[in-house]
């Protein structure tokens, strides 16, 4: 097993599939195209399963590592590997891809071949992003995902697709270009004052990061921050998200919410915390403030929505606020909760978008006011929707609760004692939970309760077998993580505590060095 390049296989199988699809399939043979795309996604999922079964939970470092020189002249390597931070995200991606392909059968009717090609290429980009351990390689994958997503929104999207696609592309490109600056800064700092080697290798840079002078760390932090915060998205960089979600086809929204946003939060955990520990610590109050604003603001704005999809989109802003709060609690519970919540959000919000897609295909509307009393005609759909809604609002017994609980415990531990103004963070986050229940229950009431007064809804058909089939794994995961999250937590725990140690053990910067930003106050000790 160990000599099989498993990660390469997982990453590039979809791209290979895309190439074959492009070259050997005729446009008109849509049945074959769908079957093949499904097959590729399913095989990729199966191939990724050893990452679950053979993963060594005791090990904090990278596993399934593959390493080869790629562009030795500038020190770029093909360095692939997973640890507890990324392994579940990889599995979530392969699973989500299967679901995304299957849910598109009846939703997409034009340019189907190109559509599935885009989906499969996107999969390679996302998988590579989570697996790459070389900053340069990471950046390449990170950027590659933009292109197929741009087309998914721009071609198969809704009425304002072009606006949304361009906004998505430019907004996130703007962020990632700044991030590239940060990467290059790290690279050159290492070259000049660190190991002196030409390298983008994360494992090596991890040892260099904490020695970077505070003043420089702050700048690199800001560069990474913009890049990842746009992707997450954190308030106030979130406005591309509702537009992108509303215009994207269902599968696009599912992938966007389920996976693409996680690339931002993952970036913070993988790069920002361990590479820039002192700056991360210094920015905790700022990050926590933005997270808490995101939680409350996202929830309130979602409550004001009249379009289901936009409501779910804004709820993501709130949920991701929780994730960021957990990340910057900088302790085991918070970060573990954040990691779990990344999965949970992928599952629950992904499922919500799938459900919105199901009803949109039948009614071609997403306005909440067009519905009402649906429980009567589509009981199966209503039940799945109810479970998903409850999972999204963090009902105990379902997945969302475990993540939210751990995040809040972590935040409370970090910010409530000793008693300071920072107590506001967990206190307001808890208010976010109340608001979460409010907008979700209100949505549910307006869609499913009341009388079935819109004649267009009276002939609504319930979920088909295919729809139930792709919703079932999502619902099963909600219960599994909710009732028995240990297999998931166990896989993440060692790596999470390693990141926490890296982020907190580094010598805390003195306030002066933050205040003297740009004036070269003092440098962190360098050995």
């Amino acid at each position: 097993m160990s000599n099989l390049p498993l990660l390469t296989l997982v990453t590039f199988l979809p791209a290979l599939g895309a190439v074959i699809l492009m070259l050997f399939f005729q446009k008109e043979r849509t049945g074959a195209i769908k079957a093949f795309a499904t097959g590729v996604a399913a095989v990729d999922f199966l191939v990724s399963l050893p990452l679950w079964t053979s993963f060594d939970t005791a090990q904090a470092g990278f596993q399934f590592v593959e390493k080869a020189a790629w562009i030795p002249s500038i020190g770029v390597s093909y360095f692939m590997g997973v640890d507890g931070i990324s392994v579940l995200l990889v599995l979530l991606t392969t699973l989500t891809m299967v679901v995304s392909v299957v849910c598109s059968f009846t939703a997409i009717h034009e340019r189907e071949k190109e559509y599935y090609v885009c989906l499969l290429l996107l999969a390679t980009g996302m998988l590579g992003t989570f697996i790459a351990l070389d900053l340069f390689l990471f950046y390449v994958f990170f950027e590659i995902t933009l292109v197929p997503m741009y087309f998914l929104i721009g071609i198969w999207g809704g009425p304002r697709k072009l606006y949304a696609a361009i906004k998505f592309f430019l907004f996130t490109l703007f962020g990632s270009v700044l991030m590239l600056l940060g990467i290059l800064a790290l690279y050159f700092v290492n070259l000049k004052t660190g190991t002196g080697k030409l390298t983008f290798d994360i494992a090596e840079l991890y040892t260099v990061g904490p020695k970077i002078p505070m003043q420089l760390q702050v700048w690199i932090f800001l560069a990474f921050f913009i890049g990842f915060a746009i992707k997450v998205p954190m308030f106030p960089f979130h406005t591309w998200l509702p537009d992108a979600h509303v215009e994207a086809p269902t599968a696009g929204s599912v992938i966007l919410a389920g996976i693409l946003l996680k690339m931002g939060t993952y970036g913070f955990v993988r790069f920002v915390l361990p590479l820039l520990p002192q700056a991360s610590q210094a920015f905790v109050p700022f990050m926590v403030l933005l997270s808490v604003i995101g939680i409350i603001y996202g929830a309130l704005v979602s409550m004001a929505q009249t379009d289901v999809k936009k409501l779910v989109a804004y709820s993501s802003v709130s949920h991701l606020g929780f994730v960021m709060l957990g990340v910057f609690a900088l302790n085991d519970q918070g970060l573990l909760g954040a990691q779990l919540q990344m999965l949970n959000h992928g599952i629950s919000t992904g499922a919500l978008f799938l459900l919105v897609g199901i009803v949109y295909e039948r009614r071609h509307t997403r306005m909440i006011s067009d519905f009402g009393g649906l429980s009567k005609v589509v009981p199966v759909y209503a039940t799945i929707f109810a479970i998903t809604m409850l999972s999204s609002m963090g009902l105990p017994g379902l997945n969302g609760f475990v993540g939210e609980f751990l995040i809040l415990v972590g935040a409370f531990k970090a910010f409530a004692l000793p008693l300071t103004y920072q107590l506001y963070a967990p206190a307001f986050a808890v208010i976010g939970i109340i608001l979460g229940a409010a907008y979700m229950l209100w949505l549910f009431q307006r869609m499913f309760f009341g009388t079935l007064d819109n004649p267009a809804n009276q002939k609504l058909t319930d979920c088909t077998a295919r729809e139930v089939a792709y919703m079932l794994p999502m619902v099963a995961l909600m219960f599994w993580i909710g009732l028995y999250p240990r297999p998931f937590l166990a896989r993440m725990e060692a790596s999470v505590s390693r990141v926490v140690k890296m982020a907190t053990l580094a010598q805390a910067p003195s306030p002066a060095s933050v205040a003297g930003l740009g004036r070269g106050a003092q440098e962190a000790p360098r050995r």
């Binding site: 190109e114 531990k413 229950l441």
Partner: protein, 676 residues
């Protein structure tokens, strides 16, 4: 037997799965399946209770699986069997089973029949988890679970706007309480390093008073939501939109008492922070009198009961607050019997009136004279009413008297005074209900009259069972007052933590002092005086109701004319819902709309604005470029020099620019291909 405690929640779970997944196939059998499961649970509970009561008792933890581990945090799914959870199990499983059986009759023919029993079993499952949990987080699971079931069952007839509104309101108001509960959990974990009762109570004596008070108050916020105390009680009266068995089971007998149970369970922490207990006593007393006063004038039979429940929960919290934990749990138990019975009896009446116009089915002004038509229901309700009013030897007398005595002897005279006044109102409103419903002339709609008959046995047998319990359920476990069996049985659960014993001792000392000093006479004189007063209050309330509603029936109208303002204030429940609407709900609506506006105009405006500026800037650059190109055509040396400057700028060696241009190129080419 105790080892098999995990079976208790397992049966209702099986019921949920059977009825939930096979609902369309089980159909009319759903009620039997659900009742069977509730019955099997009850059997296990009885077996365990027998061992606990006859055996040595003690505290047993039954581990099932480890749920969450994260660093130093570890939470397991384990069940605790001790005297306190035994009493709660008996109440929940016992009353639960009886109400399941009753529902077979009551819900017969409802199109949502299997759905109803799925929810009802799900409720049993959650409630059993709540009382059996051996740690706070698992308790919270049950806590939220019962909240969910409450939401689903209140809104059971979801096509009715008022029902789904009431369900949503219940859930959201409860969530406000839950937020406090959660913060309390975090504080407990941060301070003691654990969430399991055993560990927390072991660490409790080391807690500083402010810390224990903070924990106590935060948890009490949760209790205020679930157990409907001021200011979070507003959801419970609206919850009467649910089917009546639901009101009996969830909104009277079991779920709403969860907050009381939680406070009693946490007593080792509460005694470390007496400040929190004072708050609880006062909130309880205020709630008791406040909602009893609303109950005086309501005309909807279920609303009267609802406000009565809020008021009685206030009594239980008074008990907690004054440190009479066992008396509070005792009242919780007797209340489950007689209030469950009152609701089921009301349900029986409503069931008999289901041919009357919808608006009149629950309105007591359109009832009257039902005694002869429904004798079983009538006599059962009278027993329940006597129990609620506190007439000896009925159940409520023993527990309520203990609470008032506890308040008095611990020096909480204000609490005692408010409680006594509330007790007077209680006796009045419950007999007002009896007289308006069953006595006097019949005011039922003519078409409905001929359909009135006694409910079937499946409904009346449960009534009789609860009636028997309402008669003997107080005196058997509770005699003699403050020293009955239930006190001895519960003592280990409530006095386990060090510090609690001291309080008990304190109470006893205060009692002795009060008895010896203030009364200056024989031991127990004050106690006997209090009992006499309590009986007088109960009988006085009943007599007043009799006078106003049977003898001089014009009296209520006279009073109404005399005090129109007060009457309207009470009838409209002090306008609390309206105040909340104006002060909380509306501002939140306004805020959310304003924020959405802000999001579109300001936050997104900045994004669009910057893109607009970029476009303009590039146009200007374009013009500039044209001129430069023109210049190049002219071939002047200066322009060549400028060009070299320009190229220098492009060839910066900055990889990101190259990449950017490269990506842009790829992207434009593919765009051209796809969008053509």
């Amino acid at each position: 037997m105790i080892r098999y405690a995990w079976l208790i929640p397992l049966f209702p779970l099986a019921g949920v799965l059977i009825n939930g997944l096979l609902g369309s196939r089980v159909r009319d059998k759903a009620g039997h399946v659900a009742s069977l499961m509730a019955g099997l649970s009850l059997l296990v509970v009885l077996g365990i209770a027998r061992e606990m009561i006859l055996g040595p008792g003690g505290s047993h933890v039954v581990p099932v699986w480890t749920w969450i581990t994260a660093g130093s945090l570890s939470v397991s799914v384990s069940f605790l069997v001790d005297p306190l959870s035994t009493i709660m199990l008996l109440v929940v499983a016992g009353v639960g089973f009886v109400i399941h059986v009753y529902s077979i009759g009551y819900m017969h023919g409802d199109p949502g029949y299997p759905r109803f029993f799925t929810y009802l079993n799900l409720f049993m499952l959650s409630m059993l988890l709540l009382v059996m949990a051996d740690n706070y987080l698992l308790m919270f699971v049950g806590w939220e679970g019962v909240g969910l079931c409450s939401y689903l069952l209140i809104g059971f007839w979801y096509e009715k706007q008022s029902a789904s509104d009431a369900g949503k309101k219940a859930f959201i108001v409860n969530r406000i309480g839950d937020a406090g509960f959660l913060l309390g959990l975090f504080l407990i974990w941060t301070l003691t390093g654990s969430l399991s009762y055993a560990e927390v109570f072991k660490a409790a004596p080391q807690l500083a008073a402010p810390a224990a008070t903070a924990i106590g108050l935060l948890l009490f916020i949760g209790a205020m939501g679930k157990s409907a105390q001021i200011p979070l009680y507003v959801w419970l009266p609206d919850a009467m939109e649910g089917p009546t068995p639901v009101s009996a089971l969830i909104h009277a007998a079991t779920m709403v008492t969860a907050g009381v149970y939680m406070v009693a369970r946490t007593s080792p922490v509460y005694v470390q922070g007496p400040g929190a207990l004072e708050v609880i006593a006062l909130v309880g007393a205020l709630t008791a009198i406040f909602s009893a006063s609303i109950g005086l004038v309501q005309n909807d039979i279920k609303r009267v009961m609802a406000y009565s429940t809020v008021s009685q929960l206030g009594f239980m919290f008074m008990a907690m607050g004054v440190g009479a934990f066992a008396s509070g749990i005792f009242h919780l138990m007797t209340h489950a019997f007689f209030k469950g019975l009152l609701f089921l009896g009301a349900g029986s009446v409503i069931h008999a009136l289901h041919h009357a116009p919808a608006a009149q089915q629950q309105d007591m002004r359109y009832m009257g004279g039902l005694r002869s038509k429904m004798p079983v229901t009538y006599w059962c309700l009278v027993a329940a009413a006597l129990a609620l009013a506190g007439v000896p030897p009925f159940a409520g007398f023993w527990s309520k008297d203990e609470i008032l005595a506890g308040a008095f002897f611990s020096g909480h005279y204000v609490v005692w005074g408010l409680g006594t006044a509330a007790a007077l109102m209680t006796a009045f409103y419950v007999f007002r209900m009896i007289f308006m419903t069953f006595h006097g002339e019949m005011r039922v709609d003519h078409h409905a009259r001929e359909h009135i008959r006694e409910s079937p046995a499946v409904m009346t047998v449960p009534l009789v069972i609860l009636a028997v319990l309402s008669v003997v359920g107080g005196v058997l476990p509770g005699f003699p007052p403050d020293a009955g069996w239930i006190h001895k049985f519960l003592a280990p659960s409530l006095a386990k933590a060090p510090g609690h014993a001291a309080l008990d001792e304190g109470v006893r000392v205060v009692k002795a002092a009060a008895q010896a000093g203030a009364q200056g006479g024989g031991h127990g004189t004050a106690g006997i005086a209090l009992i006499v007063l309590a009986i007088a209050v109960a009988l006085g309330g009943i007599a007043l109701a009799w006078r106003m509603y049977l003898r001089d029936t014009a009296a209520p109208a006279r009073l109404e004319r005399r005090f129109p303002g007060l009457y309207r204030l009470l009838l409209n429940k002090y306008y609390v819902d309206e105040i909340y609407q104006a002060c909380i709900v509306e501002p939140i609506y306004r805020l959310m709309r304003a924020l959405f506006d802000f999001d579109q105009k300001v936050v997104d405006g900045a994004v669009n604005g910057s893109s607009f500026l970029t476009v303009w800037f590039s146009r200007i650059s374009g013009i500039f470029d044209l001129r430069t190109v023109d210049g190049a055509v002219n071939g002047t040396a200066g322009v060549i020099g400028f060009f070299s400057q320009l190229f220098k700028f492009i060839q910066s060696g900055m990889v990101q620019n190259y990449l950017f241009v490269m990506l842009l190129g790829v992207f434009l080419m593919v765009s051209a291909y796809l969008f053509r």
